[in-house]
């Protein structure tokens, strides 16, 4: 029952390529949307549930991508092993960073995560010897899963869809677990949570690492799927876009974040024609949602529908109650 939404979503993701085979919007845009969903769902754990902002999440995305790219092209490692090492490295860096950075709050945390993102981006551009510099790294081999080579759009759709569903499922379960409840308490009031015996620092650190791992996982898939990466894909603007996805769909809702990611990907795709207006529309959208629907499009709308539904049921019961009382008279 708890996972009903998940199964409906999974079924529609699986049905799309069957209903529209070889459709550009399903395969190409679908792959981009799927990666964004993984990133947004991971970031939502941090922003939505732990209440901590990160304006540098693209850095973790980049670490996963570059770890895979460098290990497979320069050292001929198999893709899966490179991905695993990438996750390990990113997780360790995130854990080391979490200690000092999560002591900061509000604007200070925003500045620190932003600074971290800029530092990583500068390193990606400057460490030419390893990263290929601004020109990027190419010829990243296709991902091979136990002999099954993922080398066309259909197969990629399948892999990314599976990875995305796995992330959503993990996120849904994490949120309803002990650590998820602890985080929500921390978000409400860190002080009160600690009075209840919750180790707030530990809970925040754990979720920061998990969130970074989601991003690194997406990064690794991204590198193999694109076969070419450059620092542009991991800039400050991308970090801001990831935050946009989370808040657009709805803070503190896994499906909200997923919807935000899909909506923004589709928006980008449809704005290609109006390339000059992209910044303008992106900025205006961000402001408008935050001013008028601060709980996000998905959460705001579903709550509205649910409220109307409940009030309709309530009014129907009222009518029944009135009829009963007239009968009694």
């Amino acid at each position: 029952m708890r996972l009903t939404g998940f199964f409906i979503f999974a079924a529609s993701v699986a049905l799309l390529p069957v209903l529209f085979p070889d459709n550009y919007f399903v395969t190409v845009v679908g792959i981009a949307a799927g990666l964004h969903v993984i990133l947004a769902v991971g970031l939502n754990l941090l922003i939505g549930y732990a209440g901590q902002i990160s304006l540098g999440h693209a850095a973790f995305f980049g670490m996963g991508a570059y770890a895979s790219a460098i290990l497979t092209t320069r050292f001929d490692w198999p893709g899966l092993l490179a991905m695993l090492v990438g996750l390990l490295v990113t997780g360790t860096i995130a854990w080391l960073l979490a200690q000092p950075i999560l002591r900061l709050r509000g604007h200070y945390l925003a500045m620190a995560t932003l600074g971290f993102g800029v530092i990583v981006h500068v390193i990606l551009v400057q460490a030419t010897h390893w990263t290929g510099g601004p020109d990027g790294l190419g010829e990243i081999p296709a991902l091979s899963l136990l002999g099954w080579i993922v080398d066309d759009d259909q197969r990629w759709y399948g892999v990314i869809a599976a990875a995305m569903l796995l992330s959503i499922w993990l996120s849904l379960n994490l949120v309803d677990s002990r650590i998820g409840r602890a985080l929500r308490a921390v978000r409400g009031s860190e002080f009160a949570a600690e009075m209840m015996g919750i180790d707030a620092t530990r809970a925040k650190t754990q979720i920061f690492v998990v969130s970074a791992l989601f991003a690194a996982f997406a990064g690794s898939l991204f590198a193999h799927q694109q076969a070419f990466i450059s620092p542009d894909s991991f800039s400050l603007m991308i970090s801001v876009e990831l935050v946009t996805m989370v808040v657009l769909g709805g803070i503190a809702s896994t499906f909200g974040a997923a919807c935000g990611a899909i909506a923004l990907t589709l928006l980008h795709e449809s704005l290609v024609v109006f390339e000059d207006y992209e910044l303008l529309i992106h900025g205006a959208l961000l402001m408008a949602v935050m001013i008028f629907l601060p709980q996000g499009l998905f959460v705001g709308l579903t709550q509205g529908v649910r409220r109307r539904w409940i009030s309709r049921i309530a009014s129907r019961q009222d009518m029944k109650g009135e009829r009963n009382s007239t009968v009694q008279q």
């Binding site: 922003i47 620190a112 932003l114 600074g115 800029v118 000059d276 205006a284 601060p294």
Partner: protein
């Protein structure tokens, strides 16, 4: 070697002055409303771009500069009225995202109005470099330094000597109390945004002849200004100025002695170190509630 370092420091102080002015703008708004305005860098860009456009339209430079500052101040005022006021009482994360949205929006407007190329503004008094004890200095750098000194003095006097400035400070200490003693907090907030935008515009116009300007010139300047404010202790205007100068010099030294490609990384590593070890800023008041 010593001469070289002197040259780096001279460059650093020039760049640092601009960071200081942007940081001062951050402090102005933060003081009045506890909001960190991520669109501050866009005010700097708008000032420069407006001046360039007005100059191209045939206005003489001084007039174009004044009109550009007023126009940008108006944009700041509108930002407060149209985007910040309607979201009153929003959380820190929400206001951060609103101002980021405003920054992206203004960048979009600028790219539509003036294209995506870097545009120059002529130097105020020629390009003949001045020799100064082994270091060379552009005349425009003197304009930047002089402008910064005058503006910092004006802002300092404004907060300490004028009723308006004190009223603005009162809003930051306690908004309700300020309201109770008859200060119109709403008007004060709009004023803070207008002033801050005007200040940013002046910074942009002063530095445009050295660095040129483009629709995305505000991103890094804004971030560095924010860094200056954090290093100096957020909400402390004079701290922001000191932070800006320190950051500018450090960056110039890092670029000269280590690697120019890594200069932004050096600046932000310094900011992270300050945040980790002295989160209230190097020159901040040790306020308990600001963790």
């Amino acid at each position: 070697m010593l001469e070289q370092i002197f040259q780096f420091l001279v460059t650093g102080v020039t760049v640092g002055s601009i960071y200081a002015l942007v940081g001062l703008g951050f402090a102005l708004i933060y003081n009045a409303s506890d909001v960190v305005n991520f669109a501050q860098g866009e005010f700097v860009m708008l000032g420069a771009m407006n001046a360039i456009a007005l100059l191209a339209a045939g206005l003489p430079l001084p007039l174009a500069a004044i009109a550009a500052v007023l126009l940008t101040a108006l944009v700041g005022l509108l930002l407060e009225r149209l985007a910040i006021e309607p979201a009153k009482g929003a959380s820190v994360i929400t206001t951060i995202i609103i101002t980021i949205g405003a920054a992206i929006f203004l960048r979009g407007v600028a790219s539509l109005l003036w294209g995506k190329n870097s545009l120059p503004l002529p130097a105020f008094s020629g390009d003949e470099p001045i020799q100064l004890g082994g270091a060379t200095l552009l005349p425009q750098s003197l304009w930047v330094l002089g402008g910064t000194i005058v503006l910092v003095a004006l802002v300092h006097a404004f907060f300490n000597r004028t009723l308006l400035g004190k009223a603005l400070l009162a809003c930051s200490f306690n908004r309700t109390a300020a309201q109770l003693v008859g200060i119109n907090v709403q008007v004060m907030l709009r004023l803070a945004y207008g002033l801050s935008a005007g200040l940013g515009a002046i910074a942009g116009i002063l530095v445009a002849p050295i660095t040129f300007s483009s629709y995305e010139a505000g991103i890094m300047l804004g971030l560095k200004g924010f860094s200056a404010a954090i290093v100096g202790g957020i909400g402390n205007p004079m701290g922001a100025v000191a932070g800006g100068l320190l950051l500018g010099m450090l960056e110039a030294l890092g670029a000269g002695l280590i690697s120019s490609g890594y200069k932004d990384a050096i600046a932000f590593i310094f900011v992270l170190m300050v945040l980790f070890f002295e989160p209230t800023g190097l020159f901040g008041h040790k306020a308990a509630e600001r963790v």
